[in-house]
Amino acid sequence: MTALGLAILTLGAVFLALGGLGLWRMPDTYTRIQAGTKATTLGTLLSMAGAGVLEPGWALKLALIVLFLMFTNPLSSQVLARAAHRARVPQAPQTVADALAEAEGEGAQ
């Protein structure tokens, strides 16, 4: 049981590290938000699950932290992405389309 818990916990920590790597490597703010949110949400989910296996008495409280994060993490990324777009933070040169900027352009005319 301890080995299982530790394995899940370690896997979660690896995903959190990948989230950090994504934050560092991605070319623009939007892609960084993407890499940051996804990896850290699953990473947290897994590491809390691992901790729950190691200490079953904490399971409910850990579940509460996970539930809270599952709601707030995507919300804050959405707010940040919207803020970035409204503040005209530049997008990476690889970007192929921006339907939101087009829609705003139509609205202004």
């Binding site: 916990l9 370690t10 950090g20 934050l23 940051g36 850290t40 590491s47 970035a84």
Partner: protein, 85 residues
């Protein structure tokens, strides 16, 4: 038990360092906010790791309150920076 927690602790440390580098590098304020959000989320798992290593459940409450406060902070920062054209 505490020794076995070393591997996830190193992984979390790596994630924290990379997020901190992005925080220092920017270049836009929002990049820093994003990096800070990442730092916070990784710290929550780090706090749970500390709770496991010391066997003290009180750190879970710290993690929960930290998650709550940082969420509010990020939302406020995002809302504020929206108008920053």
């Amino acid at each position: 038990m505490a020794e076995a927690l070393l591997v996830p602790a190193v992984a979390l440390g790596l994630g924290l360092v990379l997020a901190a580098l992005r925080f220092l590098r920017g270049p836009h304020v929002l990049d820093r906010v994003v990096a800070f959000d990442g730092l916070t989320v990784i710290s929550i798992s780090a706090l749970v790791l500390v709770a496991l290593a010391t066997g003290r459940g009180i750190y879970l409450d710290v993690a929960l309150v930290y998650a709550l406060l940082s969420f509010l902070g990020v939302i406020v920062a995002g809302r504020y920076l929206e108008g920053g054209e």
